[in-house]
Symmetry: C2
Subunit: 478 residues, 2 copies
C-alpha cells in the first residue's frame, strides 16, 4: 500500500471509528448470529491475487460487523464492562505503526522506560509504595501466573534447575485463595505443574469475602499434613460479586507464615485512586505482588495488565535467561531488559496507551468517571431493593450489582427460579439494548449488572431496569 | 474526547503514520540515547488535570521518538527483521476501537470464527493438513509453552489434578531440543515446573542442525536411566543461523518413541508457502504441534503467533475450565470458546490483521517478497564469500547471513578477533543506517544480517556491506 492509499484508507477509517466510538448504540450489543455464520460466509482459502483495501473493508462491514459483540456499547453490562477510550485507540494505532518490540532496552529504549514511568504514575495514583516494581503483561492471567511462579521460586529449593518431578526432597505444595477467586488462579496452578489439588479454596462469609480464620486453620492443617504453603491469593473485587477479601488480616497471616501474598485487584484496583475507596485496600501495600488491569476499568483498549512486585528479583531469578543473541552492552551495564521479567520475549509498546490515557484524562477526571459508575450501580441496587419482585444477592462495594428476579406472585422451586432468571436474562439480552451475564451464588443463579463503560449513563441503567421489569412481568404471566 | 476532536487527531495521526511507514529511513535505526534519558525527561506523576492530545503527541515527538529503535527502518537487520505493513496497521487501529474480547464465542463471534478462518487460510498456504487445529497466541514463547504443557498432559498421568510435586509415581521427565533451539524452550520448562535440567540439548552438525542419531541415543540413554521423555522440539529456522533440524528423521523417532513432537517454525514457517522451499518442511506435517509467527516474516504488526495442533483436545484437557460466570448456552452446545485453549482468558481481535494482510497482499505477492528477501540474503552472502577480509560462518537456508570479519593482514587471537567483530558491529550500528546483531557459533562471535522488512531493498544490503567493509578497513588500520 503506497502512502497515498494509506492516507485514503486511514482517513476513511478515522471517520468510521469516530462514528463507531460515539455511536455503537445503533448496533445490538449482542449480535444476532448463529455459530458458523461468519465461517460459512467466508471463502476457504486466501486469495492468490491481492485485493483492494476497500473491498476487504466492505466484507468487514458485511460479514464481521453483524457478528461483533459490542464491548463498546454503553449497554454492555456483562462480565466486567470495559472501554476503548479515544486516546487509547489513537495510541494503539501509533503503537502498531511503530511496531516496537520491547524485549531489550536496546530494542526500544522508549517502550522500556515509558513502561517504568507510566506504571510508576499509576502506582502513585493508587497509593502504593515505590518498593513495588512494575511490569506490563498482556493479561491478569499471565500476571498471576508469574506471581505464583515467583512464589514457587521463593519456596522450593532449586526449582529452576531441578523442577518439581521425581524429587524426594519436595513434598506437596499448596496455594490458597477464596472460593470466589478467579479461574485464572486455577489455570496458573495447572500450568505451573502444581496440579489442581494444590489449590485450596477457602470458604467465604456472607459478604463473599474470604474468612481469614478459615485461611489460618487451613494453613495449620496443611502444615500438620506436611504440605508446604507457597502462596495466598487475596482478591479485591472478585469476579462474581466484586467482594473484597480481608487483605490486612491475610497479610498478617502471610507475614506470620512467611508465605507469598498475591493480590488480584484486576478489576477494582483502579479505585484505590479514590480516597474514600482506599479503605478496601488496607494491607495490600504489604503484598508481595499485585495485579491491576487498566484494560478493565481504566478506559484502556485490550490488552494491558499492570503487575507490581516487591520482589521482582525473584521473578527475574525464576525466568531471566540471556542467550548470546540477546546479549547487549547495556545489559552488561545493568540496564533493565523487560524480557527478564517473564516468559514472553516479545512485548508490544503497551505503555504508550496507558501514558496517553493518564495524561489525556488526568487523575481527577478518572476518579470522577469511576465515582459515577459506582453511583450508577448504587442507584440500580436501590431500584432492585425497592422492588417486590426482585432481590439483591450481594453487597455493592464497587460498580457491579448481583440480583435476581423473584416474582412475589409465583411459587417456584429453587431450580424453577434459576430457570426463570436464565430466561429473563436471555429475554433482556435479546433486546439488543443491554447485555447482562450471570453467576451462581449460594447455589442460586444470579444476574449481574456490571458498569464500566465510559459512555454508560443513567439512561442505560434505566433501560436495563425497564427491560428487566417488563420481561419479569411478562415471564411471570406465562 | 468528542468525535470532532477524535477526527482531528485521528486524521493528523494518519498523516504522521503515512510519513513514518514510508520514511522511517530518516531516523537512525538505533536511537542515540542513554539509559535513563526518557525517564528523566518525564514527570514523576500523572497530571491531575487532563491535557489536550496535541500536547501529549508533541511530547511523544520530543521525548519518545528519539528513543525508538526503528523496527520499521529498512536497514533493520538485527534479530529477525519484521514489518508493520500498512494493512496490518489499519487492522490494528480498527481492532483497538472494536475492543473485542474473544474469550467466548458469545463475547465475539466474529473474532472467534475469523481466527479459525484466517488460520485455516494460512495453514493451507503452508501445505499443512486440515487435522491441525489453530489458535492464535501473543508470542511463540506462549505457543511453545502450551505445546509443552500439552506434552506433559499427554505423558504424566493425572498431572492436571495432582501436579508434579510430592509424587512417587512420577519420575524425572525430559524435553529434547537442539543446542540451537530458542530460549523460549528453556523458559517453558522453567514455567512448567520441569526444571532446567529437564531440557537436554542435542548437539548439532556442521550446518547447525540437530543430529538425529544423537537424539535417538539420548532417548535410549534416558530411558535406561528411568527418565521419561515427554517432548522433542525441532526447529525449522533456528535463531542464530536459521538452520533446519532434520524433521523427517526426528518425526520417525518421535513416532517410535511415542513422544510429542513440537516444531518451532516461528521465523521460517511462512516460507512453506513457497514450493521450492517446501523441502525444508518435510515431516512437519507429522508433528503434534507447530508454531509459526506472522509477526515475524508475514508483515504483521506485533503480536500474532499462530499455533497449530493435531491434538488440541489435549491442550483443552490441560486447561479448559469453565467457571459459572463464563458458562454460555452456546458453550453447552459445543461451540468453540477460545479461552479453553490456554491460560490467557483475555484475547484481542488479532485475526483481523492476519485476514486483512492475507487478502490485501494475496499469496502470490507474499511469496514474491519472501523470495526477494532470500535472494538479497544470498547476494550478501556472495559478497562475504568473495571478500578476503570476511568469512561466512553458516549456510543461508533463508534470509539470514552469519559472517564475521577476519582481516587478512592481522594476526589476531580468537578473543581479539571476537573483540574486533564486536567493535565492528558497534561502529556499523553507530551509523544509524543499519542495525545488525550478533550470536556465538563454535565459540566465535559472529555477526548476523537478517532480512525481513517489507521495504528492504538491494540498496540497504549494499549500504550494510559498504559500512562493514569501510569500518573493517578502518579498524584494521588502528
Amino acid at each position: 500500500m503506497d502512502p497515498s492509499e494509506f492516507r485514503r484508507h486511514g482517513h476513511a477509517l478515522v471517520e468510521w471509528i469516530a462514528e463507531y466510538l460515539s455511536g455503537a448504540e445503533r448496533y445490538p450489543v449482542l449480535p444476532r448470529v448463529e455459530p458458523g455464520d461468519v465461517r460459512d460466509a467466508l471463502p476457504d482459502s486466501a486469495p492468490e491475487e491481492g485485493e483492494p483495501f476497500d473491498r476487504i473493508f466492505a466484507d468487514f462491514e458485511r460479514v464481521l460487523l453483524p457478528a461483533l459483540t459490542h464491548w463498546n456499547h454503553p449497554g454492555f453490562f456483562a462480565y466486567f464492562a470495559t472501554s476503548a477510550s479515544a486516546s487509547g485507540v489513537l495510541a494503539e494505532f501509533l503503537s502498531a505503526a511503530l511496531n516496537q518490540q520491547a524485549m531489550l532496552w536496546r530494542t526500544s529504549p522508549a517502550a522500556t522506560e515509558l513502561e517504568e514511568v507510566s506504571l510508576a504514575w499509576l502506582r502513585r495514583l493508587m497509593g502504593l509504595p515505590d518498593a513495588f516494581e512494575g511490569v506490563i503483561y498482556d493479561t491478569a492471567s499471565i500476571a498471576s501466573l508469574h506471581a505464583l511462579a515467583a512464589a514457587r521460586e521463593a519456596e522450593v529449593p532449586d526449582v529452576r534447575e531441578k523442577g518439581l518431578a521425581g524429587r524426594d526432597d519436595v513434598g506437596r505444595l499448596r496455594v490458597y485463595c477464596s472460593e470466589h477467586a478467579h479461574s485464572s488462579i486455577d489455570k496458573a496452578v495447572l500450568m505451573l505443574g502444581l496440579g489442581h489439588s494444590s489449590l485450596r479454596r477457602i470458604p467465604a462469609d456472607d459478604a463473599f469475602s474470604m474468612r481469614a480464620g478459615e485461611l489460618r486453620a487451613a494453613l495449620d492443617d496443611d502444615r500438620g499434613a506436611r504440605i508446604t504453603p507457597i502462596a495466598v491469593v487475596a482478591t479485591i473485587g472478585t469476579t462474581s460479586t466484586t467482594s473484597v477479601d480481608p487483605v490486612r488480616e491475610i497479610a498478617d497471616i502471610c507475614r506470620d507464615e512467611r508465605v507469598w501474598l498475591h493480590v488480584d485487584a484486576a478489576y477494582a484496583g483502579v479505585t484505590a485512586m479514590i480516597p474514600e475507596y482506599r479503605a478496601h485496600f488496607t494491607g495490600w501495600e504489604r503484598a508481595d505482588s499485585i495485579v491491576v488491569n487498566p484494560h478493565k476499568w481504566l478506559f484502556t483498549p485490550f490488552d494491558l495488565s499492570a503487575f507490581y512486585c516487591r520482589r521482582m528479583d525473584v521473578v527475574r531469578q525464576a525466568f531471566s535467561l540471556v542467550p548470546e543473541y540477546l546479549r547487549t552492552a547495556e545489559g552488561s551495564r545493568g540496564v533493565r531488559n523487560l524480557m527478564d521479567t517473564g516468559v514472553q520475549l516479545g512485548r508490544r509498546f503497551r505503555s504508550l496507551k496507558l501514558w496517553m490515557i493518564l495524561r489525556h484524562f488526568g487523575a481527577e477526571r478518572i476518579r470522577g468517571v469511576l465515582r459515577e459508575h459506582i453511583r450508577l450501580a448504587h442507584g440500580f441496587a436501590a431500584w432492585v431493593d425497592a422492588h417486590p419482585d426482585f432481590e439483591r444477592v450481594a453487597p455493592v462495594p464497587f460498580s457491579v450489582v448481583c440480583f435476581r428476579a423473584k416474582p412475589r406472585d409465583l411459587t417456584l422451586t429453587a431450580s424453577e427460579l434459576d430457570a426463570f432468571n436464565e430466561r429473563l436474562m436471555e429475554a433482556v439480552n435479546a433486546s439488543g439494548d443491554v447485555f447482562l451475564s450471570h453467576t451462581r451464588l449460594n447455589g442460586m443463579l444470579v444476574l449481574r449488572l456490571a458498569i464500566g463503560h465510559l459512555r454508560t449513563t443513567a439512561q442505560h441503567t434505566a433501560r436495563a431496569w425497564e427491560l428487566l421489569c417488563a420481561h419479569t412481568a411478562e415471564l411471570a404471566r406465562h
